[in-house]
Symmetry: D2
């Protein structure tokens, strides 16, 4: 997994503080902004975070590049609808020799790993064989419709992978660019940094949290699972490890 912060709103904390102060102030926008030192902005934003006033933090957005994650993760991630996604398409991009995610519990055990890697090879072989056979069938059909042999082969290659991908596994790598505003991120971190979240999306969320904390520490200082801010809301389903979780997410 490789996660990078590709872009974000400049001076994010000053922008949030200006927007929040505007709601309760008769002063003009320029004067508000000039009156805000970085320190004052950070302090004000920290106070908003504590009060749970989330609406002003929508003004800042963060764009992430994410590579080397599984299609399973993608399915979970894109359920967060308050975000924008551009995802590498399996319909259009042929998987020459596809990369894949190995779950840690599998990587740690030779027997499980052997089963897993065998399955990946079989999937690759089936994908290649299907791509070839479907490509051949489609090329023949296109030639019957009057295309030249060469043009038919090219067009067919493209559309064959659309159906061949049905054999590709959940583990298959994908990459994407996504943009969240800070309010949507807080919600995402609250759900997905939790110890009960699935391991891959928890790893992604934790990495994203570290990246945004570096540029907006007052906004994300207490971001993460709910147990950072109060008692665990999961009742009987709690992981029971709030202490370690708190330590893990402590601001460095």
């Amino acid at each position: 997994m490789r996660v990078t912060l590709l872009a974000h709103t400049p001076e994010p904390e000053r922008l949030i503080a200006s927007a929040a102060k505007l709601c309760y102030s008769p002063v003009g926008i320029d004067a508000l902004r000039e009156g805000l030192t970085d320190g004052a902005a950070a302090e004000f934003v920290g106070m908003l975070a504590e009060l749970g006033h989330e609406s002003p933090i929508e003004h800042i957005t963060f764009t992430f590049g994410i590579e080397g994650v599984s299609r399973s993760l993608l399915a979970q991630l894109t359920r967060h609808r308050m975000a924008s996604y551009s995802v590498q398409s399996q319909r259009y991009v042929r998987e020459g020799a596809f990369d894949y995610v190995v779950p840690p519990a599998i990587a740690e055990d030779a027997q499980a790993l052997a089963i897993f890697e065998g399955a990946m090879q079989q999937a690759q072989q089936a994908y290649d064989a299907l791509g070839e056979r479907l490509g051949q069938l489609q090329a023949e059909a296109l030639e019957r419709e009057g295309l030249s042999k060469k043009a038919a082969a090219r067009a067919a290659g493209k559309s064959a992978i659309e159906d061949a991908r049905f054999v590709l596994p959940n583990a298959c790598h994908t990459k994407l660019i996504c943009t969240f505003n800070a309010r949507s991120l807080l919600n995402f971190f609250s759900l997905r940094c939790c110890n009960r979240a699935q391991w891959e999306i928890r790893a992604l969320a934790t990495e994203m949290l570290h990246l945004v904390r570096a540029v907006a520490p007052s906004v994300f200082g207490t971001a993460g699972p709910p147990c950072l801010r109060g008692p665990c809301p999961e009742g009987k389903m709690t992981c029971g490890k709030a202490e370690q979780v708190r330590e893990h997410f402590a601001l460095r």
Copy 2:
């Protein structure tokens, strides 16, 4: 694929007509509604559709049950963010003997079908073997933590499938319940009933369109790909079959 309309807003066209008339009328809501016969509502809604005034149609919603579709389709469907989804989880539901979608182009050719079904069997075997091995490892770990053999086995079985599912293919069946409002549906139909859309989601969209047309014909009378309402917007990428498409989606 099995698609059913589980629920929808009652008297959808009268509700839309009331909401739209309200914007331009000094009359009260009760009087507006009483003055609307079913015929008058349908006619008014048809006029809104022609003018492209979409905001009043947001008031009506449709809930679909969808079964026997692939995980590939799910990934495409859930990219439509103006909708609500409840999806069967591969994290929690073990795939005893998983069902799968066979793409038509594969089903039609014995050689391709043999490759495909072989791949499905291999995936099932790897899934079962991984589930067993991971379950055994986790049970051992839980026993070392002090759980009884029986409790450990049960807990382990649950978490093992979470990682085993990484070998499951895109073709794997899933089921879901989703709710769209009519405006979001129009957008969905415009993109996904198009001849250039991938075959599985096009089949789903077409089926959904038939279901909603039956209960709100004036709202969805011209719904479908853009070529039903004007020239194809795809330029050089056009399928070139607007005539057949128009016939296919003609109101019966």
Copy 3:
């Protein structure tokens, strides 16, 4: 203020329970629904509400007719973006003799009421006078462009109110139809039924809560301000009246 529930998803609690159960069940949708008595659905939905699992309740929607509220309220209400609105337009609908909201604190004091009603009369007079003058100016302009006296007068009357409405007060009545799903409603009730919310939108939210509780008691049983479900989150800003609030919103 007059609030009516114009429409809602039929059998709302059975739909929610079906959607929620689907996520964790290998059973088909029909079988799931058939296995759900009304009592079982209600119980299951109550459990979801306690666990805070909100995503399945998005499947049910509620449409309200709202009349006799102020333009101030409208400004607050439409800030809730997860909803659909159709609002009577001041641009198109002439205010013959506009109705208005009198805040209770003003209605209770003869002196304040006199000031207030005087202001309403002055606003009405200015609105009428401006409409007339602007209409006359515009009619003259249209006649110079070649329209007949009659056509010019009619066209001018329409556009004159667009500018005349700038003198209309916040108190001015408006009416609207709006649709929320249950998840968005829970958020709305949490913020706007709170004792610290402004009195008019609190009255509206409370009325809406009573209407939806009657049709989906298990979904909305603990809906309302946060103090119904735990300690007040407002810190020093608390109203300090959680006891009365709880009594007020208790299920009857």
Copy 4:
């Protein structure tokens, strides 16, 4: 009206081009970005705009400071739900001597202007008188509850304006900070730069368009009313001035 661009995503066109290319490319994100000169990014973004592929432009956001606009405009603007708003509150900020918008058609005619300014003065007087009377009543009530004269007066002053604002006119100035992504802006410009839109929001939208065109010309080169990109969709309701409109919005 004063509109400023307070912040935007840095290097907006390179980000969009990277996101769009990713969907159809096997190459990694870093390599994609490095391969993009500013010129190549601009050209690619222009091509996306022509094809109407809007999803990648969601990744860039723009934050505006807006001052000196009417409450009427605010009501129209906040109906655009795909945006984030922080608005000066009339509940909390006392209008010492409120500023107001004068519609041009009124400013141009002495008689209309006299009526209008009279109405503004009457509204201000009623607002002040109500604030004073309500403040006095509330202070008395608070003193009866045991507060000191001074504390009572201060608390009362705050809550009195909440009801006094019911007499304030639509023309009353407000200020706000709002953030839109580029896709939502395109929709906003399409609706609100149109000659048939109300004059004040048209002026705002036009100003916003000029500001974003300066930083992302390829994204917004053909942004504006639909008649910039094809025939007017308003049918009989057309303004009939597409030629002038096109000239007005031509890239300089």
